[in-house]
Amino acid sequence: MHSGKECVAMLLAGGEGKRLGILTRDKAKPALPFGGKYRIIDFTLSNCTNSGIDTVGVLTQYEPLILNSHLGNGSPWDLDRRKGGISLLPPFVRKKGGKWFKGTADAVYQNMNFLEQYNPSYVLIISGDHIYKMDYSMLLEYHQSKDADLTIAVIEVPWEEASRFGILDKNETGRITEFQEKPDIPKNNLASMGVYIFNFDMMKQFLFKDQNNIKSSNDFGKDVLPLMLKSNCRMFAYPFHGYWKDVGTTESLWQANIDLLENNPNLDLYEQHWPIYTVSTNQPPHYLGPEAKVEQSMISDGCTVFGEINHSILFPGVTVGHKTIVKDSIIMSNVIIGSGVKVEKAIIAENSSVGNNSRICRLDNVTEDIIVIREYSIIPHDSIINSTYTFKEIILRTGGKLK
């Protein structure tokens, strides 16, 4: 018999991130690079580690290859434990046949056996899509102090964005009185962060109920939470103040990265008491050449820069040639940029290369679009790329050619 765990985390990491276009063509959204050396999922995993949660089930579904190799045995997050640690939970086949995870609640429901073996008192549901630093142990304390069945972490969002989120209303004790998933006309701007703590018994009860409803989409936000509210469960809202971001689109991914370059950014990666862990790259320190010029930028290990970097982020192992200017851009791991290149307001995904004297920038300053270069692209010398679409049809991983 297993001795129980107080709290087990279920990390939803199967999301596709449709609006991120070609960036998520070959990887799930939680595996997207962020902040100069991390992947988005590093934030929630590090939150678990820093909050003392040592048992994490990671629910994968969409394009899990990169995610799986990134997570490994969980050692970067101290999750290589004898008891507990990290467990990858992909969809699987049963005697009666297998099926994909239908919604978020279904994903957890299908892995009930995983939870049962730890028999936790509480289950923490988190999403690998979000970037934030949160002490889940405080959330758990709040949950216990309210004697709640379910506690939802909530944050105030700008009114104009409120319809993208699960919006709720609470009374003065913090008890939730109303919940609407992605309302057309939001009554409030208090949004669910997709971070829930359930009493395990209560969660089981409602997940079974939800499964019995064939009309349900088996989603926490759409189905389970409204059902619980209707059944008069004790649901509380835990107010969170701080940085929280769901980078849903290419623009918001770019903006969230660029925001880190402020002098005192809202998301502080340099806080010593809350480190963000990730897989080590084993690269040497970065080198700036004799004519390099680097301002308002973040540069990672293994980079070699001979040109000019302005208001940009370089992930590990990037090379930037002489007389090249990189401005307002995000250059992901192992990209090689030749000499005399100009890159402006672009995201160049991993392992791409850009030939000498190429231009990757918009023709005019009217369009606000960010140019995205897909991973493994090989851009020949003297290319002119002025939108994401210029380069869309070229599948270069298999060695295709530029038309």
């Binding site: 340099y270 084993n282 540069i299």
Partner: protein
């Protein structure tokens, strides 16, 4: 290489870097932005296919033990089923006053050698900056049926040979023909390195004989004194190599890393150099940063000017500060308007506003760890 055990032998006589080896042994001296010296020899061993490495410490080993951890960064695990990494400390019984040399440390850990499943040992010092492939050395050792095969270096102006004081003559087949003492200093173009391979049985014999005779230095008492009866061979070492046995050489080899071809050779060929990951964010450059010709590790924050220098992790360079031709170890604070030239600044040093620290190329200014200036 599965039957070769790597032994890293940390000698007190190598703790010659003054301020830098004041509170740590030579093997855990910082080098190259985010490494420690032991990373180079240990990574070389691992990249050569050695799966069992033992580190023999002597003293001031707190930072070394902390750095090695469980060895997982080098893919060696302290509690691995496949032996992995072993860290062996000296027996307290041999107080340093009576300590005769590394042999005693080997002797008190004799069981360790006897019990390991490897038949050969590759012994190396820890004061070397290198990225070596030992497979060729071991192959050569086997083919030549040598008792002991050393790595040697030819025509290397940066190699300090004073340790040996011996005239080395190597035959065409690689056999060491002569190792005569030479009082006048050495004019030989060839220098033996403290990296050699032999069978475990021979090592055990040498150690036991020396201890019976009351001598204690493996190299001098065990090998050189018996050089007439042993078949000694030598094999040339390829690639970049630096033996760090003075502050000047430390500086010289550090600054060589600012040369792209040396950096490439040392950090990636034939394998990568591994080190303990500190989980730091990338280095951040502010609006007023001006950095050229420099190597910088993670977690720094730069507002000032840095030229031709090496900055270790988590250093803060404020606006108007100017660092030139210097090495700044981890976690330093360089305040506004401070000027640093030709200096080695120890770990955790704070340099206050407008302070000037200026050494000369031939007389570096070295600031000890945690100094507040």
């Amino acid at each position: 290489m599965r039957d070769v055990m790597g032994v890293i032998n940390i000698n007190i006589r190598d703790d010659v870097l003054d301020e830098l080896t004041f509170s740590r042994c030579i093997s855990s001296v910082h080098f190259g932005g985010h490494y420690r010296l032991i990373d180079f020899i240990l990574s070389s061993m691992v990249n050569s296919g050695i799966q069992h490495a033992a580190v023999f410490t002597l003293q001031k080993y707190r930072s070394l033990v902390d750095h090695l951890g469980t060895g997982k960064e080098w893919d060696l695990n302290l509690n691995s089923k496949d032996e992995g990494l072993s860290v062996l400390h000296p027996n307290l019984f041999h107080s340093l006053k009576y300590f005769q040399g590394d042999l005693q440390n080997f002797y008190s850990n004799m069981d360790f050698f006897k019990r390991s499943r490897q038949k050969n040992v590759l012994i190396a010092g820890s004061n070397m900056v290198c990225n070596l492939d030992f497979r060729e050395l071991v192959d050569f050792h086997r083919r030549s049926k040598a008792d002991i095969t050393f790595l040697y270096r030819e025509n290397d102006p940066l190699l300090d040979v004073s340790l040996w004081r011996r005239r080395l003559v190597i035959g065409e087949d690689g056999r060491i023909l002569s190792l005569e003492p030479s009082e006048k200093g050495v004019d030989s173009k060839q220098v033996l390195l403290e990296i050699f391979v032999m069978s475990k049985t021979l090592l055990i014999d040498l150690v036991e004989n020396c201890v019976i005779n009351g001598t204690g230095d493996l190299l001098h008492d065990g090998i050189i004194k018996n050089s007439n009866s042993l078949k000694l061979f030598a094999f040339p070492a390829k690639g970049y190599l630096g033996v760090i046995n003075s502050p000047a050489l430390y500086y010289k080899h550090s600054m060589n890393l600012l040369n792209p071809s040396i950096r490439k050779e040392l950090f990636s060929q034939p394998g990568l150099i591994y080190t303990k990951d500190k989980d730091l964010p990338p280095t951040k450059y502010m609006r007023s940063a001006e950095v050229t010709g420099s190597l910088l590790a993670s977690g720094c924050s730069i507002e000032g000017r840095v030229e031709n220098s090496i900055l270790f992790r988590e250093t803060r360079v404020e606006k108007g500060a100017y660092i030139k031709d210097s090495i700044i170890l981890p976690k330093c604070q360089i305040a506004e308007g401070a000027q640093i030239e030709h200096a080695i600044i120890g770990k955790g040093v704070s340099i206050s506003m407008r302070k000037e620290i200026k050494g000369r190329k031939d007389n570096l200014s070295v600031i000890a760890d945690r100094t507040i200036m």
